[in-house]
């Protein structure tokens, strides 16, 4: 099996090892796997892919209209957006091109819009335009009073971050990458032409190393003797409103960035909910993914001003994610030729959008440090299960149910997840490492009742499936 959760790492000399199986690490592993013949390992401290920053973010496929023009981030986001849009269509990753409105609520914000329009153009995004208050109201009838205008960015989309990471990991694993979970890198030493990684599961030998450790990229960088940047976890608390609120909002409602920070957005999700957040709290604890009463209260107050009717809607989930902020306004991607090592640090909220472009960039850098890359092949396309609402889900498909009645057997009623989908997720190339991992693959137990009806049954299916698996 190419996915393991325990046992010592295989006693082979890997050509490349990627540390961190978030959206960036899995994308890099997938890209490397295109070069058939390379022996690639993907190691991850958590028990599943996408367990860090990648699982808890605002799930937006950005145009990059507001990046710093000329920055690496600006280029990779622009390229990545194009690549991921195409990849999502091919792989069945849920995406909804709903567009964004940057709504101005006061004079200062209104005055900032023309500058943002100009910045969008400098970032190679010509489709943005300014809207007057009447047009804003017509586009978003449930908006609270006082919207003075907006910048319309029609290219912004919402996407499923879970399926994206999983699709990359699946393709990497199917192409021969070894995915080692529960495998924390504790030290790195040099043995001739190789790095010797001491991991929580035992030693692992590799010639080249990619550090895509997200929040811990600075720690890993220091294991290799570098002190180039420090990752400061920036906590973002988010509230997910019930799907019955989905009709209240049509676009991603972005705040206008001002001197006071980036602010709070309201956006639809591909699962049919409404997302409100994030907060922005600078912390030093990289495990502080808890929510706070103050954070939730502040979000609700802001959200209800943007969309007053949210006030009466039920809340489905509250969570917090940590962004990997550094002291610089750009990605920190650098190659260390003499060490056969590439650092991918400071990948912030745009990392999901940029992931495929980052992967291509990192692979080029690896080649520059001397890695001999065999000719790339297009990998076998992957087709992910649809957990979004834009296309028919299994419970809506007579053809699927006729072929396999398990797709007609709804287990999680709030999210309409069928037994067939749960079974498939448990038997997949990258099976979940916990009931939460199963939720991110199927949405089971992720709805308004949070398991009141289905929790016990979903856990039972998970445990039975996990027993049968080799994990």
């Amino acid at each position: 099996m190419a996915v393991t959760r325990r046992g010592v790492p295989p006693d082979v000399a890997y050509d490349v090892t990627v540390i961190g199986a978030g959206v960036v690490g899995t994308a890099v592993a997938r890209e490397l796997a295109r070069h058939v013949g390379l022996r690639v390992a993907l190691v991850e401290a958590a028990d599943d892919v996408g367990e860090g920053t990648s699982k808890a973010n605002t799930a937006i496929l950005h145009t990059g209209f507001d990046a710093v023009p000329g920055s690496l981030e600006s280029r990779l986001v622009r390229e990545g957006q194009r690549l991921l849009t195409a990849y999502a269509a091919e792989s069945g990753i849920p995406v909804e091109p709903v567009g964004a409105l940057l709504v101005a609520w006061d004079g200062e914000q209104l005055a900032a819009l023309p500058g943002l329009l100009e910045k969008a153009e400098r970032n190679g995004y010509p489709a943005a335009r300014l809207l007057g208050p009447a047009e804003v109201r017509a586009r978003e009838p449930h908006l609270g009073p006082g919207a003075l205008g907006a910048l319309d960015v029609p290219g912004e989309s919402v996407i499923c971050p879970w399926t994206t990471t999983l699709a990359y990991a699946t393709q990497a694993v199917r192409s021969g990458v070894d995915l080692l979970l529960n495998c924390r890198v504790e030290a790195v030493s040099q043995a001739g032409e190789s790095h010797l990684l001491s991991t929580s599961r035992g030693p692992l030998r590799t010639r080249y190393l990619v550090n895509a450790a997200g929040l811990h990229a600075d720690t890993v960088d220091r294991l290799l003797g570098h002190d180039a940047f420090t990752v400061t976890p920036r906590r973002g608390q988010l509230i997910v409103y019930d799907k019955l609120a989905r009709d209240l909002v049509r676009h991603i409602l972005l705040p206008v960035p001002t001197a006071l920070g980036k602010g709070v957005l309201v956006a639809p999700t591909v699962y049919g909910n409404v997302l409100l957040g994030p907060t922005a709290e600078e912390l030093d604890d990289k495990t502080a993914t808890g929510t706070t009463a103050e954070g939730i209260a502040a979000l609700r107050e802001k959200g209800h001003r943007i969309l007053p009717e949210l006030h009466d809607e039920e809340i489905t989930a509250v969570y917090a994610g940590l962004r990997a902020a550094t002291d610089q306004d750009d990605y920190r991607i650098s190659a260390h030729k003499e060490q056969r090592y590439v650092t991918v640090g400071g990948i912030r909220s745009t990392g999901l959008t940029a992931s495929l472009a980052i992967a291509a960039h990192v692979t080029e850098l690896l080649a520059g440090t001397g890695l001999d890359l065999p000719e790339p092949h297009d990998p076998e396309p992957v087709r992910m299960p649809n957990i979004g609402e834009a296309f028919p889900r299994p419970y809506q498909r007579a053809d699927l149910i006729a072929a396999d009645p398990a797709y007609g057997e709804i287990v999680c009623h709030c999210e309409r997840v069928t037994r067939g989908e749960i079974r498939d997720a448990l038997a997949a190339a990258v099976p979940p490492g916990s009931p939460d991992g199963l939720r991110r693959r199927t949405r089971a137990r992720g709805g308004r009742c949070q398991g009141f009806y289905c929790g016990a049954e979903v856990r039972e299916l998970y445990e039975r499936g996990a027993e049968m698996g080799t994990g």
């Binding site: 007609g408 009623h413 009806y453």
Partner: protein
């Protein structure tokens, strides 16, 4: 590729209310009565309440559920389980999914009996981490009693209403010690004997005027943070927390149909004949008022069957209705619409505060219709009732009727 079918009455939900409605209708010979339920087994919530106290004879939940099912099936109602209603195709037509495929069912009358659920941790906005070991009573009962899953070793139960004490029993059967019952109210809201038994015989402390303000733990819950009304805080170590009570109607179908909802109950607004504002659509049971005991909702089902039968024979549907509104600390009243031909017998209310024999004043457009003093105290999370003998004085063309404390 949907099979299309027509029935006379479609009942959505095979809990005590839906089954009683179906049994009453099928017995009165109105034609084809079909009950669909999304669960694999019919019977509703009582199926996983292993404790006694159901029905007049005090049977266990599963026994009671079985009896409800047998009564409905015995009268000739068609019962189909594992069938989920997923959408409305027309005002009296629904789309369904089951392992047998997709269907579109049209009925002369639709009865929504979709029941209620407890609000989970997220909806109650309890901050902290997201560890395992967090339950509602519904999930706990299914996990411990139906699936025999390992629950934990030491639990905190949030709530001190009747269902909270039920959660205590389930935890005890599952071998889980209970660190405390926590209620935001100054007293528990169960029968005194029940509370006494928990405190004295089982040594479960009751923490009043306190709320859970934080969940702590990575992977598995390690404890909860509490705050007393006076500001004191405490940490209680536990690996399990059960959020009990705080029921809300499962109103998704009512809402997707565009039916008028009541802001207090959050269920569809209905009159005394269980009529919603959608012609031909009735609603019954805990989707109207979360949550009343099984016996009470089954009795509603019997009354609803009579109302549906009448509609099928005369086709009358009220064109106008007066809304009922409550003032705090009253939380809701049901039924909450008044129609001219309404046979309303009694109303059920809830309060958010303990009230010693409250006086209710019922007014319309500033005119007092009725004033009455309750015979017993009103307790949060428990029903109290007011008779409907004043409804004849309501002006059907007037404004909303207001129910407030005198």
């Amino acid at each position: 590729m949907r099979r299309e079918r027509i029935v006379d009455v479609l009942v959505v939900g095979a809990g005590p209310a839906g089954l009683a409605t179906a049994a009453g209708l099928a017995a009165s010979g109105v034609g084809e009565v079909e009950v669909v339920d999304r669960e694999r087994q019919a019977g509703g919530i009582p199926r996983h309440c292993l404790h006694g106290g159901f029905g007049r004879l005090g049977m266990t939940g599963p026994q009671y559920a079985e009896r409800c099912v047998a009564a409905a099936v015995g009268t000739g109602a068609v019962l189909r389980t594992g069938v989920s209603v997923t959408a409305w195709a027309a005002p009296l037509t629904v789309d369904t999914t089951s392992p047998r495929g997709l269907e579109r069912i049209t009925a002369r009358a639709v009865v929504l009996a979709t029941g209620a659920r407890e609000r989970p941790r997220a909806a109650r906005l309890v901050p902290g981490t997201r560890p395992a070991g967090v339950y509602t009573t519904g999930e706990l009962q299914q996990a411990a009693d139906l699936h025999r899953q390992r629950i934990g070793t030491r639990a905190v139960v949030v709530g001190a209403e009747p269902v909270s004490f039920t959660a205590l029993d389930t935890l005890r059967r599952a071998g889980v010690a209970v660190a405390a019952l926590v209620t935001e109210h100054p007293r528990h809201q169960a029968r005194p004997a029940r509370a006494l038994d928990a405190r004295l015989r089982h040594k479960v402390p009751l923490l009043t005027d306190a709320t859970v303000v934080e969940l702590v733990g990575r992977g598995r819950l390690s404890g909860v943070g509490l705050r007393h009304r006076d500001g004191r805080t405490a940490h209680v170590a536990c690996d399990t927390v059960v959020f009990t009570g705080d029921f809300v109607p499962d109103h998704e179908l009512a809402r997707r149909a565009g039916l008028l909802l009541d802001p207090g109950t959050r269920g569809p607004a209905v009159d005394g004949a269980f009529r919603t504002d959608g012609r031909g659509v009735f609603a019954v049971g805990n989707v109207l008022h979360a949550a009343e005991p099984a016996r009470a909702v089954a009795r509603e089902g019997t009354l609803a069957a009579e109302a549906v039968r009448r509609y099928l024979s005369d086709g009358d549907w009220p064109s106008a209705a007066v809304r009922l509104r409550v003032a705090a600390p009253l939380a809701w009243i049901a039924p909450n619409r008044l129609t001219p031909d309404d046979p309303t017998g009694a109303f059920t209310l809830r309060t958010t505060e303990f009230l010693a024999r409250p006086t209710l004043v019922i007014t319309q457009d500033g005119r007092t219709l009725h004033r009455t003093r309750a015979r017993r105290p009103a307790v949060p999370n428990r029903p109290f009732r007011v008779a409907g003998d004043w409804t004849g004085r309501v002006d059907v063309r007037g404004g909303a009727v207001r129910i407030a404390l005198g």
